[in-house]
């Protein structure tokens, strides 16, 4: 899939979910695989940095996590 699901853990770290071609939609995967209660944003893969040198410094503003909440 050319989509990624971004969420922020309670400790502030960022999780990036890479959906598999499993028959579920990206929205269904988001609701299932984002930790319960955490808000998420679905973005194009091109919006995720490919340089991972400072991976642990990635962040996202809470106001952008508007596409749903993990169930």
């Amino acid at each position: 899939m050319d989509k990624r699901i971004i969420y922020k853990n309670t400790d502030g770290s960022i999780g990036i979910i890479i959906p598999a071609d499993c028959g579920l939609t990206v929205e269904e995967i988001a609701r299932k695989d984002v930790p319960t209660g955490l808000s998420y944003k679905i973005v194009d893969v091109s919006e995720v940095p490919s340089d991972r040198e400072f991976r642990n410094a990635w962040t996202i503003d809470d106001s952008e996590l508007t596409d749903g909440v993990g169930e």
């Binding site: 699901i5 890479i18 959906p19 598999a20 499993c22 695989d33 340089d51």
Partner: protein, 255 residues
């Protein structure tokens, strides 16, 4: 003409007897009347008792006068297998063709005896595969005997470098990129518990020359029924402080 009552009609000198004309004639045999030693071009009836019954619902029974299905074959004898035998002497194999799906069902008296609900496959007279009454799939694929096959319940092959990407997978809904060299494999269908075996490998290069240390060490932890976590790191330097991304990561779940 109305009725002619005779005790016997005999064709003489090898000639034939024709009943009915070319139109829509009907030949009826009254209930209670039995034809014996019946033979036609397509049917040779040598049975000594009723072998085939067609009931009022048009169900056909072989060995039973009370067929439950369009075709019911019953064998009340002991020690004799109930069998449908297909022979094809043309050199081609026989096959059973179902146009809208096919269900094989084995059930002994409405779920009352799982040991007699096996579905067994034989080749050359030897058992090759079985689905037993407890729904276990067993087969002999070099095992030496028919044994339960413990299948891979989920698997994934992914690239943990750059923009993390899944190459291919089965029963995996997603990978979570938690941090450098830190990933969670999420299952499409949960496992029954977290007592499964997770096998993982990682390497620096998916193709081409291997760089020995980078990402060549992986650990699996946080087993749960819905997902499992994996960390990849630099081999030989202790994984805790040497986590690194791996280009070739494979995880397989067995139970």
């Amino acid at each position: 003409m109305s009725k002619i009552k005779v005790n016997e009609i005999v064709n003489r000198n090898g000639s034939s007897i024709t009943i009915g004309d070319a139109n829509t004639s009907t030949v009826a045999i009254n209930s209670g009347t039995t034809l014996t030693g019946f033979s036609s071009t397509g049917i040779d009836d040598n049975a000594t008792s009723t072998a085939v019954t067609i009931d009022s619902s048009n169900n056909v029974g072989i060995g039973t006068s009370s067929p439950d299905s369009p075709l019911t074959i019953s064998n009340s004898g002991t020690g004799t297998a109930n069998a449908i035998e297909l022979e094809n002497f043309s050199g081609e194999s026989s096959y059973i063709k179902a146009k809208r799906g096919l269900t094989l069902s084995a059930d002994y008296l409405d779920n009352s005896n799982a040991s007699q609900s096996n579905i067994t496959f034989e080749t050359d007279g030897s058992e090759a595969m079985r689905i037993d009454g407890s729904a276990n799939l067993k087969f002999n694929s070099g095992y030496g005997s028919v044994a339960t096959a413990y299948g891979c319940r989920a698997w994934v092959n992914f690239n943990g470098t750059g923009t993390v990407a899944i190459r291919d997978s089965g029963n995996v809904s997603s990978i979570t990129d938690n941090d450098n060299g830190d990933y969670t494999v999420n299952f499409s269908n949960n496992l029954p518990d977290n007592n499964y075996s997770a096998v993982a490998s990682s390497g620096s290069e998916y193709t081409g020359t291997i760089i020995y240390n980078d990402g060549a060490h992986c650990s699996v932890f946080n087993y749960s029924s819905g997902n499992v976590q994996i960390i990849t790191g630099t081999y030989g330097q202790g994984i805790t402080n040497n986590i690194s991304n791996a280009e070739a990561v494979s995880v397989a779940i067995f139970r």
